[in-house]
Symmetry: C2
């Protein structure tokens, strides 16, 4: 059952936002495999999206346990970075983004608040030194846990399209 | 500590593949929020990547609990689909892909085997009916659990670059 959130709710005061009751247990688990270091210490400081980070230099530290997994990554110009927005609410199913002012479903937004708060950025890979990558194009809080790194493959990941992001 | 896998290992017989001991506990959990329906019932049948699925029509069924989260998604031409490769090994840190024949780190491969087996496809959104999306451009096994849907934003997600996927 979904529950409209009261305007006086501490975390989501905007009318129109709806939360769901989440299942009592997780279906599987994730390991935090490293840490992302960025210049942003509060949510208010974070850029709205990776493109707006304006090339700020960030670093990704992969835990020693997994460091061998980086072998070969230096051959790629860009990497897909998956990370866990561990401070976000997971129960919001409709949200009212400030820039829209009306409610929209969570899956049509890039908000960190979602049942599985997994974010992705396509980051430019600048340098690899041991278990540390230097990158540009990440928009998350300093200290965000890393979930995965993948090579970015333009032939698979980039959609060439003359359409704007919205059809209408 | 990493452990070379013996050639007689049942699941990963290829020399050069290395596994790590995973932590004893997960750091957080994921909910399976729906199911992906595809024409592929075995790994051997699956296309090598979404581009090679040649437009096969697949469907994504979002659990009723989360269905309200789809509001507004029909406005987008493409969606980022995150899903959980729940049958993949999670401990392989170097792997020998058949098409390469040499060992490479897991994070420089798109293999489903990785510490957090979260895959992503950029799928073309063809139709939305209630809690079911019809899409093209997914390469996973029938029945794969869904983790997240996001609007694909070319201005943020597509890297315009004249570089081939490999720098060298």
């Amino acid at each position: 059952m979904s529950t409209p959130i009261k305007p006086d709710d501490e975390y989501a005061a905007r009318p129109g936002e709806v939360s769901v009751e989440l299942p009592g247990a997780f279906d599987s688990g994730v390991y935090f495999i490293g840490t992302i270091h960025t210049p942003w210490r509060t949510r208010a400081e974070c850029p709205k999206n990776p493109r707006e980070s304006k090339g700020a230099i960030c670093s990704i530290e992969v835990d020693e346990r997994y460091a061998q997994g980086l072998a070969g990554i230096e051959a790629f110009t860009h990497v897909v970075v998956l990370y866990f927005m561990d401070q976000a609410r997971r129960d919001l199913i409709t949200q009212v983004p400030r820039h829209l002012g009306i409610a929209r479903g969570t899956f049509s937004l890039r908000s960190p608040a979602r049942p599985n708060p997994i974010a992705l950025s396509v980051a430019k890979l600048l340098k690899v030194e041991g278990n540390r990558l230097t990158v540009a194009g990440i928009d998350c809080l300093d200290g965000t846990p890393l979930l995965d790194l993948k090579p970015y493959l333009p032939t698979v990941d980039a959609i060439e399209s003359i359409l704007p992001p919205h059809k209408k």
